[in-house]
Symmetry: D2
Subunit: 100 residues, 4 copies
């Protein structure tokens, strides 16, 4: 699945933004551990799980959008066999997101 042919992925321009969002998600996962440790109320924990799931989903949608605008568009512009492969790969990723 590695993509050695492109040195530059779409999300790289916003790398710092994605890292910041993922660090916040890491913080949320630690917050959840503290809530369980302190035996907090289930419903309050579930509220936090939903917030964290939404944050993760937004990261995924962001990455996917940049992947489509960069890698997929680039492959399509170049043409050739690689395009279909890229599209199939993107579709599979979208199906995993929709089903998860």
């Amino acid at each position: 699945m590695k993509d050695a042919t492109h040195a530059h992925h779409g999300y790289i321009d916003n790398k710092e933004d994605y890292l910041k969002r993922l660090r916040r998600i890491e913080g949320q996962s630690r917050g959840l551990q503290r809530m369980v440790e302190e035996e907090q109320y289930c419903i309050d924990i579930l509220t936090q799980v939903s917030a964290m799931t939404k944050a993760l989903q937004n990261v995924a949608l962001g990455l996917l959008g940049e992947h489509l605008s960069h890698c997929v568009v680039q492959a399509a512009a170049t043409g050739g066999r690689e395009t279909n492969e890229k599209i199939k790969e993107a579709n599979d990723a979208i199906a995993r997101l929709v089903r998860s």
Copy 2:
């Protein structure tokens, strides 16, 4: 939203199991940061995001199940006004999960 009346929540019996799963999820969020840091391929990152989302969802379904079997059943057995409130609270949590 705090539940002062029950000293014992449903998930407590499996507290260690939930903490272990949440620590693994924390590890996944750090793994994602490393992937972005190393500028790995978007699709591979998305695959990891989907796996992490599924793990979070399973934690949520587990907590919700124990909440229903313990807190909600206990409230229903006692009867009284609290039951409706607990059911409403559970429904709202389910709706947030289904929509997230």
Copy 3:
């Protein structure tokens, strides 16, 4: 899975409302066929699919809520073996909704 012991399910009081919502969903499915028949734009079709999915999800959340408030609470109030079975059944239904 039939539930012969309860003559009265939670959603029955709102039976007409559910039928109305399901007829509207049936209409949406016919609308989608017309859009495909007329070869309308994919993205417009997808917008309608998302609206229909949301409508279905809301029906499911409504039915589940009434199931919890009626059948599950009733089973819990009566106590006994049936309660665990009802809770397990509800959890399985919730998991299917969250994962679909």
Copy 4:
């Protein structure tokens, strides 16, 4: 949102297949009405709702995949301003699917 510039959408080659799937979904929506009419058990109704939601999701993923392989790739190959617009439109549709 109409796309007058392309006379041929990606899904058209499989138009009959999509119509067949949508007719089956219409049948499921009528089956659900019959279940409510006959006051069947909530959990059995919910099982059918989940099956119907999955069928709808698969239609959406299929249409989206063909949209990406045809309209988006075509726009990207042509280049120009339209590409960004197409990508934005596709991303928005994906976000609606993931969130519904």
